[in-house]
């Protein structure tokens, strides 16, 4: 799904944000990306969103080489990648509903269709009563849920989160991670960049550690320690509600009977297969390196 080959990113001021980075994230995988500030976490996410281009190397997403992607195709790639930010990046002038609806407006969907999907998803996120509120009137946790709704409403195949809990107190942060785990369980590939080691240890998911732009450690998924996934569904209801537990994404779009991940990737990625995958030894070798 996401493959990096010897990716190098040098900024104009001469700093090397990423150095010869090779890694692979499989479809539907949940990955934590960690490392100290300046290790290259954000740069990696920015490269995946094509907010910046790699200086060297290749990046394949869904089998497509985004290193050679034309600028005109970038918006269509981004529609397949939801992104969540530490500062939420909501539009302050637009209501909760409109902020989430953006992701569908840009695709030219009809008003009714948009309303149905947005409302269903926000209901599932327990924000159904705040549709007309402005982001400024919401708590930080609510704002981040709105941002997540915006990232998910068009059912992207990939969800990237850059320090999604950075502005939240620990309890809310946990709730957000639970929510992202739920998204991952539905088949979406999720990459969460965070420097909160405690958070990572709690869930025992695959963890990529960057240091000075290089892959310092690739810790495979472990049996969850305590809490985390073992927390009963009752906890998750706080965030997702009964309706959403069924699956807010599919409930919102009855037509999409197939798994969201597959449905979301349309034409540009239709031929995405494992044929372009990195040879297994390569990734395995990386994993054993530490």
């Amino acid at each position: 799904m996401i493959q990096l080959y010897h990716v190098h990113k040098r900024y104009p001021n001469g700093t090397d944000a990423l150095v010869d980075l090779t890694l692979r994230v499989r479809e539907g995988e949940f990955v934590f990306l960690t490392g100290p500030s300046g290790a290259g976490k954000s740069t990696l996410l920015r490269l995946l969103m094509v907010m910046e281009r790699a200086t060297e190397g290749q990046i394949l997403i869904g089998g497509r080489n985004i290193h050679v992607l034309r600028d005109a195709s970038v918006p269509f790639l981004r529609r397949n990648i939801g992104m969540i930010f530490q500062d939420f990046k909501l539009i302050p002038r637009r209501t909760v509903f409109d902020n989430v609806a953006i992701s569908l407006e840009i695709m030219g969907l009809g008003r009714k269709d948009i309303a149905k999907r947005v409302e269903t998803l926000l209901d599932g996120l327990r924000l159904g009563h705040r549709l007309d509120a402005l982001p400024g009137d919401l708590s930080a946790g609510e704002q981040q849920r709105v941002a997540i709704a915006r990232a998910l409403v068009n059912e992207p195949a990939i969800l990237l989160a850059d320090e999604p809990t950075g502005n939240l107190d620990p309890d809310l942060g946990n709730d957000i991670i639970q929510l992202l785990l739920d998204v991952g369980r539905r088949g979406t590939t999720v990459i969460v960049a965070t420097h909160d080691v405690g958070l990572i240890q709690r869930y025992g998911m695959r963890t990529l550690t960057l240091a000075r732009g290089q892959l310092a450690e690739d810790l495979p998924r472990q049996a969850p320690l305590r809490g985390g996934l073992e927390r009963g569904p009752a906890d998750r209801l706080d965030l997702l509600g009964q309706a959403a537990m069924v699956n807010p994404l599919q409930a919102s779009a009855p037509a999409a009977a197939e798994p969201p991940a597959a449905a979301a990737f349309s034409e540009p990625f239709a031929q995405a297969g494992e044929s372009t995958a990195v040879p297994a030894e390569q990734t395995d070798a990386k994993r054993e390196a530490p």
């Binding site: 981004r78 990046k89 407006e105």
Partner: protein, 300 residues
């Protein structure tokens, strides 16, 4: 997948952009209205001046008054001279008696009462009709010069030619046309500057929003469209105002001309199709200005 933005969305966003800077948007619309009204007024003036000159050109006539003592051969000589000249369509000879008859008809019967027939003035006149096609400025100039020279001929007493006054009118219209074009140009440019500024302000105030839209996968066209529509809307409002103003002016002027001058004027104070041009031109001006602004400030 590549469906464009929904019209409702674009319009809603454009209206919200307008609400973001209502005063500047109002000023923009007003300057567009002012510019277009002026353009419309000048178009009206030019249109009517053109028609007037055409009418005048058609009735352009030259009267060559001959000495009362002029003999038949003298008259014939002048006539031949006139007929040989380019631009002269027809020469009609009025004898002394015919001229006297015409004068009698022109004078009121009261004035003529008890007057001796011989006391009524009469002299041989050559009525010369001039080719209307020649009534353009340069040709009239040449004709005026030539007719002045006719005065030097012995049998000719005087030459009366309306074109001398017409020449002044032509010059006036020409000056008016230049002023109109310059003034309209300046006003249109300044109204475009106002729209340009409004859009620039809107773009700057939506920096965050533009970035977010790009991140969720909006195409540059989708992001730019509301700004372009905002500019076009300012132009549309301006055009509507201008059309209304010109319409009012039209009604007022037509009434004035009829009441005060008792003229049954056939002139159109509002040239045909002008409203249509305004309604198209306003949004076009707004769109052009916002396109310039967006192209310059909305980089993606």
């Amino acid at each position: 997948m590549k469906r464009g933005a929904h019209p409702t969305y674009v319009l809603t966003q454009a209206l919200q952009l307008l609400r973001g800077s209502p005063w500047l948007a109002t000023v923009s619309a007003l300057t567009i209205a002012l510019a277009l009204t002026l353009v419309g007024l000048f178009a009206t003036v030019m249109f009517n001046a053109g028609k007037l000159m055409q009418d005048l050109g058609q009735s352009l006539a030259l009267s060559v008054y001959l000495q009362e003592s002029a003999s038949e051969p003298d008259i014939a000589a002048v006539r031949t001279k006139l007929e040989g000249h380019e631009g002269i369509r027809k020469v009609k000879v009025l004898t002394r008696e015919q001229d006297r008859e015409r004068n009698k008809r022109l004078l009121s019967s009261e004035l003529l009462q008890g007057l001796d027939e011989a006391a009524i003035p009469g002299q041989p006149v050559l009525e010369v009709e001039i080719d209307a096609a020649l009534a353009s400025r340069g040709d009239v100039d040449a004709l005026v010069k030539w007719t002045q020279a006719l005065k030097g001929v012995a049998a000719v007493e005087d030459v009366e030619f309306g074109a001398e006054k017409l020449r002044l009118l032509f010059a006036l219209v020409e000056i008016l046309r230049t002023i109109g074009i310059v003034l309209s140009g300046v006003l249109l440019a300044s109204s475009m500057f106002f729209v340009f500024s409004t859009i620039r302000l809107a773009v700057f105030s939506r920096r965050d929003e533009i970035e977010i839209l790009a991140l969720v996968g909006a195409t540059p066209g989708f992001i730019r469209l509301p700004f372009l529509v905002e500019g076009a809307l300012q132009g549309l409002v301006g055009a509507a105002l201008a059309a209304g103003l010109l319409g009012l002016l039209h009604i007022e002027l037509r009434g004035l001309v009829r009441d005060v001058y008792m003229l049954n004027v056939a002139w159109s104070l509002l040239p045909p199709g002008m409203i249509a041009w305004l309604v198209l031109g306003g949004p076009a001006v707004g769109l052009a200005a916002s396109a310039l602004s967006v192209g310059r400030y909305l980089k993606l």
